[in-house]
């Protein structure tokens, strides 16, 4: 099992996010919902930096996912001292990440603002909100060894 916030884990996350949910998960929600997500994703070329604020006591570390024409093309771990360039930068504390990996609903995480948008246009970001939420859910399903 890959260690949380390492390059190996980031690559597993990229594959999972790119693949999207399987048939069983899709069946739990209406086809219209997945059609909306497919539409939002179709030409998506923004990037997300998803940070953990307090990993092992250090400064924020980010998982950067880069989308290109609807495919998740790059995944990297960006440290506190590395330059960070992403369309949307979001940050949560470690407890929130741990809950996500334990199955907590990403929609509820956003509602309670446990994951905050630190950089990026709020309105533009929300035009892909369910695509983002389901991608975060996919990240939560990737098994990882926590520190």
């Amino acid at each position: 099992m890959a260690v949380f916030f390492t390059p190996e884990w980031a690559e597993e996350v990229r594959e999972a996010v790119d693949r999207g949910p399987g048939e069983e998960l899709r069946a739990a929600k209406l086809p219209a919902y997945w059609a909306w997500i497919d539409g939002a994703r179709a030409s998506y070329s923004s990037s997300w930096a998803l940070g953990v604020r307090d990993l092992a006591g250090g400064g924020p570390v980010y998982l950067r996912l880069g989308w290109k024409d609807g495919a998740c093309a790059e995944a990297a771990i960006v440290g506190p001292d590395d330059p960070l360039d992403a369309t949307y930068v979001l940050v949560a504390d470690f407890a929130t990440w741990r809950d996500l990996l334990a199955g907590e609903d990403p929609g509820r995480i956003v509602m309670y603002r446990r994951l905050r948008l630190q950089e990026g246009d709020v309105l533009r970001f929300f035009r892909g909100i369910y695509f983002f939420i389901e991608s975060v859910a996919a990240i939560g399903r990737v098994a990882a060894r926590l520190p």
Binding site: L30, A32, W36, M111, Y112, L117, V122, F126, Y130
Partner: protein
């Protein structure tokens, strides 16, 4: 819309909680819109609040609890729970996101805003009581009951309400940023309150009235709807004044509406509206009417692409 008679206005305006059960929800909805062209000032709305506030602990849910178990079908209970859960969580969300808006604006606006924050907290308590005493959800705290009803909340709740949460965060950085206030106000007062909340009120309250069910819910939620009249009138006045001050802010309203209407296109669960006596198409028309009436009365013109998006609105049931 025909003029409301003076007797009806007086009944909606002046009823104490004990008399609210006799008021028709349609009259309260007319009351929301009757003042939109004139739009009362912030202090007038605050004075109205002082006269109209009600005690949420005075509601008696005993008959509702009997109706819930003995007189409603499983389908009706499920549909009602699904719709009310969006409101239960919606009230909490609008309550906690509002204080940041009070930090900006005129002193009159801030004074009025203190009353709306109190209203939203009271509405949250109303749903907390309903879920405990009628639906029978367990919990020692308000959060426990919210957690217990969350499974009934649609996945698409996070669209408008997550947007509001993030817009509140944006406003926190600079509470006087008028463009950010307008974007926030479009989501909160125009869409969540003016369209979503008023539509849910119409659907659930007309179901209660037609079926003669849930008198405690009818009383409290009708009083909530009367509170909503003040909230929507405040919001429309705020948007109108902002655009008068700087016509470029109209663009912020349009951009926010575009986002909201894109989000609205996603539906993750089928709503069993039929159990409450509504069709999807009727709800769509109700929502479109709620939105366009406000835009017309307040004088907010829309570009053709947004008008087209409005005609494709999908039924979406939550509120705050």
């Amino acid at each position: 819309m025909p003029e409301m008679s003076r007797e009806k206005v007086a009944a909606v305006e002046g009823s104490a909680l004990g008399q609210i059960h006799d008021i028709d929800i349609d009259d309260v909805l007319d009351y929301v819109h009757k003042d939109l062209k004139r739009l009362p000032g912030y202090i007038e709305l605050y004075q109205r609040y002082l006269r109209q506030r009600w005690d949420v602990y005075e509601i008696d849910f005993a008959q509702d609890a009997r109706d819930w178990t003995d007189r409603m079908t499983q389908d009706e209970r499920e549909a009602f729970t699904a719709i009310s859960s969006g409101f239960h969580h919606g009230e909490r969300q609008v309550e906690v996101e509002l204080p940041v808006f009070m930090l900006g604006g005129s002193e009159e606006s801030r004074i009025y805003m203190s009353s709306q924050i109190e209203d939203e907290a009271r509405h949250t308590v109303f749903f907390d009581r309903f879920y405990r005493e009628v639906v029978g959800l367990p919990g020692d705290s308000v959060q426990d009951v919210l957690d217990a009803s969350f499974q009934h909340v649609s996945e698409t709740f996070v669209g408008p309400f997550g947007l509001l949460a993030y817009q509140a965060d944006e406003l926190r950085a600079d509470p006087e940023d008028l463009a950010a206030r307008v974007r926030y106000g479009t989501t909160y007062f125009l869409w969540i309150e003016g369209v979503l909340a008023l539509s849910v009120m119409k659907i659930t309250l007309s179901y209660c009235r037609n079926a003669g069910l849930l008198p405690g819910y009818y009383t409290g939620f009708t009083a909530t709807c009367r509170d909503e009249a003040r909230h929507v009138q405040f919001g429309m006045r705020f948007l109108r004044e902002a655009v008068q001050e700087d016509p470029r802010l109209l663009r912020e309203i349009h951009e926010t509406l575009r986002t909201i209407l894109v989000i609205n296109g996603a539906t993750s669960r089928r709503l069993a509206l039929e159990a409450l006596g509504w069709t999807q198409d009727e709800v769509r028309r109700l929502m479109i009417r709620q939105l366009t009436m406000k835009l017309v009365d307040v004088g907010i013109d829309l570009p053709p692409d947004v008008q087209q998006m409005i005609s494709n609105i999908e039924p979406e049931l939550a509120g705050g």
